[in-house]
């Protein structure tokens, strides 16, 4: 846990609101270099908003969020773009640009932001595609790919600029268990091969416990716990137990009462 390196991401009293509805109620956390942090939470817990804030798609209402040494709350457009060139985000549905082939999608940030030769870019594109297991699909259009392949292609695009931080939004959502396990394995492989900081937003417990160094549990805009998977399994917090044991909300009241009976007794 102890590290004298500066955190790669840190949030201080981070608040985000849409219109008059506050989604994140002043949260604090740090992500260390080269760790894999999973942000776990139910639908509506604010985990997607937290992700969008960390990549600069939402502005904090107050507080700060530092990514790679830049405070995104106060960053200018140029500073924001500088940060964005050092991060990669793999979107839930892939979000590949539909009018370009898979290869062109991956090459796009390289063509825009670097002075690399076209031949070099082609080599990089193939390397990235090989890493995600899509080497044969360079010239396919995104619409010709299955859901799992789209996500892999999106991962390849997120990696194209060799980012220091890789973000994954719901990597296994909407996939069958085999493909989802494949994506988990891909993240684990990348973690070992690249040694980058990885942030994964998910509600899939199995996948969270498999890939995480630490898990941040978000509930209704507040952090319930930040712990290693082992520590989290031991947690007695009623809301965390409810999530881990997959108890629906209507029965949750009773569950909490029972837990309190046990702990009080």
């Amino acid at each position: 846990m102890s590290s004298n390196e500066a955190p790669v991401i840190s949030a201080r009293d981070l608040r985000v609101q849409y219109a008059d509805r506050e989604i994140l109620h002043g949260i604090n956390f740090e992500v260390k270099a080269r760790e894999t942090m999973v942000i776990l939470g139910a639908s509506g817990s604010g985990k997607s908003t937290l992700l969008r804030t960390m990549v600069g798609l939402e502005k904090p209402t107050s507080g700060s969020v530092w990514v790679g040494g830049t405070n995104l709350a106060t960053a200018s457009a140029a500073e924001m773009n500088a940060v964005r060139k050092r991060i990669g985000l793999s979107f839930q549905g892939g979000a590949l640009i539909g009018s370009m082939t898979v290869g062109e999608n991956i090459a796009l940030p390289l063509r825009e932001h670097t002075n690399l030769e076209e031949s070099t870019i082609e080599v990089i594109v193939r390397i990235k595609l090989r890493q995600v297991g899509l080497i044969k699909f360079e010239h396919f259009m995104p619409s010709e790919l299955s859901g799992g392949m789209k996500k892999r292609a999106a991962v390849a695009r997120a990696m194209s600029m060799d980012p220091e931080i890789l973000f994954f939004d719901e990597p296994s959502a909407g996939l069958d268990p085999i493909i989802a396990a494949g994506i988990d394995q891909l993240i684990l492989n990348l973690k070992q091969a690249l040694g980058v900081t990885i942030i994964v937003v998910t509600h899939e417990l199995a996948s969270a416990f498999l890939i995480a160094d630490r898990i941040l549990v978000l509930d209704a805009g507040n952090i319930l716990n930040i712990a290693s998977p082992e520590e989290l399994k031991q947690s007695t917090h009623p809301r965390i137990r409810q999530f881990l044991n997959r108890v629906p909300d209507s029965e949750a009241g009773e569950d909490v009462d029972n837990l309190q009976l046990f702990t009080d007794g």
Binding site: G93, A95, I97, G98
Partner: protein, 264 residues
Amino acid sequence: MELLLNIGAATEKCLAYVGSLAQLLGRAMADSVVSPLKRSLSFQRAIHQAMAVGVTAIPVISFITFFIGVIMALQGAYELRRFGALYLVADMVAISITRELGPLVTAIVVIGRSGSAFAAEIGTMKVTEELDAIETMALRPIAFLVAPKLLAMLVMMPCLTIWADLMGVLGGSVFGMMGANYTFGTYLAATRDALFIRDIITGLVKSIVFGLVITGVGCQEGFSTGTGSEQVGRSTTAAVVTSIFLIVFVDLVFTAIFYMTSRV
């Protein structure tokens, strides 16, 4: 009082909309002139758009303006015949096509084909998070999406309009040859004599402004798409309806200005 408030609110909304259009177009122009995307990527996309907006529109615009040329000639001849002035049919077709109908019909066809497509494309990209993806790759959606469309539109609208003018005159000549004692040669000569270069320029100036309006409204509606796929349909409809309204309004303003400035 209630009515006044509503009128005030509606006026404010209209002004805000026009303001947002101007802002979008201004940024797109700045992006295409000042800081174009690297490696002629923007140029490639503009060529691609120019094909989609312009070249593939040629058949439908040809047919429509050809028929409108015939219709104008028939309709004009109906009146002119009563004054024994059937020989003026070439002049009438030439002037009404180049100054008014050529640019207007071209614009309406382009709205239907491309304005709607802009809104649908950008709207779908918003729904599927592609716009967010472009932003997180440190690219500007306006430079990436609007600037190439704007460039394509500003070049292709005048080209299409010239083509439409030509086809309209051809349409008129069919009636001229069959119903008004013209030969093809004399009809074209009559057309040439009737037209001042000013008439054609007037139409082209309009067509450029129409191009601005169609791109602005199509893209603006696309960007303002809400969440959910049914919103894309709403944006597309709004783009077509708003564009047609604005085109006719702009046409009215320009025609009035040209009329007043050309009075002797």
